[in-house]
């Protein structure tokens, strides 16, 4: 199922350690031991993270002589980040239009009751926000 595949990529990238691993693999292939080095976790824990990334299609492992370096499937990663970035950019464009609207709005609504200098009735209990 394509949607499940997409969800797997999303959740794989939701973990900060895995995101960090992906960022390092973007520089170049690395072995499990090399990837485990900077973290305060076991090689097994790193392997577990790698399996999640691998299941999501984000990384692959090939046998090169005695080593099995981890390789980032950059295209899959790019597609994901593009989707999210595009969505973010659309939201940002929308909110820039809202910025413009806010700038052109008058400072205060002149007729708002809370700006009325003389309160209509001192015994009137609700001070704010109960009716509009």
């Amino acid at each position: 199922m394509p949607a499940d595949a997409l969800s797997r990529v999303f959740s794989a990238l939701a973990d900060p350690t895995r995101r960090d691993m992906v960022a390092r693999l973007a520089v170049g292939d690395a072995t499990v031991n090399e990837l485990a080095e900077p973290y305060d976790v076991s090689v097994q824990a790193v392997s577990k993270h790698l399996r999640v990334l691998q299941d999501a299609g984000l990384v692959s492992r090939t046998r090169v002589a005695q080593r099995r370096p981890v390789h980032l499937e950059a295209e899959v990663f790019d597609l994901m980040t593009k989707w999210i970035e595009r969505y973010r950019r659309q939201a940002e464009e929308r909110y820039r239009r809202l910025d413009d609207v806010l700038r052109t709005m008058p400072e205060e609504l002149p007729a708002r009751p809370d700006h009325n200098p003389a309160p209509p009735d001192p015994s009137d209990p609700p001070p704010r926000g109960t009716s509009r």
């Binding site: 394509p2 949607a3 499940d4 595949a5 997409l6 969800s7 990529v9 999303f10 959740s11 939701a14 973990d15 299609g57 499937e73 295209e75 899959v76 597609l79 989707w83 999210i84 595009r86 969505y87 973010r88 659309q90 939201a91 940002e92 464009e93 929308r94 909110y95 239009r97 809202l98 910025d99 413009d100 609207v101 806010l102 700038r103 709005m105 609504l109 926000g129 509009r132």
Partner: protein, 160 residues
């Protein structure tokens, strides 16, 4: 801490529940930001995508109220509707959201406005949908390539 006038939109896609959260700060007090979300004449100026024309059928933003609007381009028209579950002036808008192309799907949206001082406001908009598939479709919506093409490409890349 420094305050700059522009804060780019932040997006969070939660891995555990199918939601998308957007955080953005504005150089305007809460009352203004709230009004720009409730006054139909102001909403049409910013809510719709740039390349589509937005027309509001009705927009009754109060607890128990409802809304419907349409985005159109040439002869294509996309309708959206929902109801307002809780509206507290300058603070909170809780509403549902349905794209009429998928009438059985509904998102629950919550908009929270916080006063962050100096006449500025932080907006947090959360959309909760009923499945990760819907969430991902939501994230991918409006893409140039379109959702199906996007999935097809992903399929290809993942070798499915």
């Amino acid at each position: 801490m420094t305050t700059t006038s522009t804060h780019e939109t932040e997006i969070v896609a939660d891995p555990r529940v199918p939601l998308v959260r957007i955080v953005r700060e504005f150089d305007a007090p809460r009352a203004k930001v709230f009004r720009a979300h409730t006054d139909p004449e102001l909403i049409v100026k910013w809510l719709g995508p740039r390349d589509l024309t937005m027309r509001i059928d009705h927009y009754d933003c109060r607890t128990g109220g409802s809304y419907r609007y349409l985005h159109s381009r040439n002869d294509e028209e996309y309708g959206f509707h929902g109801c307002f579950h809780e509206v507290r002036p300058d603070e909170v808008i809780v509403q549902t959201f349905t794209f009429e192309g998928y009438p059985d799907s509904v998102a629950l949206e919550r908009l929270v406005l916080e006063d962050i001082g100096n006449g500025r406001t932080r907006l947090t908009a959360t959309s909760l949908v009923d499945s990760f598939e819907s969430r991902d479709a939501f994230l991918a919506s409006g893409m140039e390539t379109g959702i199906n093409e996007g999935y097809e490409r992903l399929d290809e890349l993942l070798g499915a």
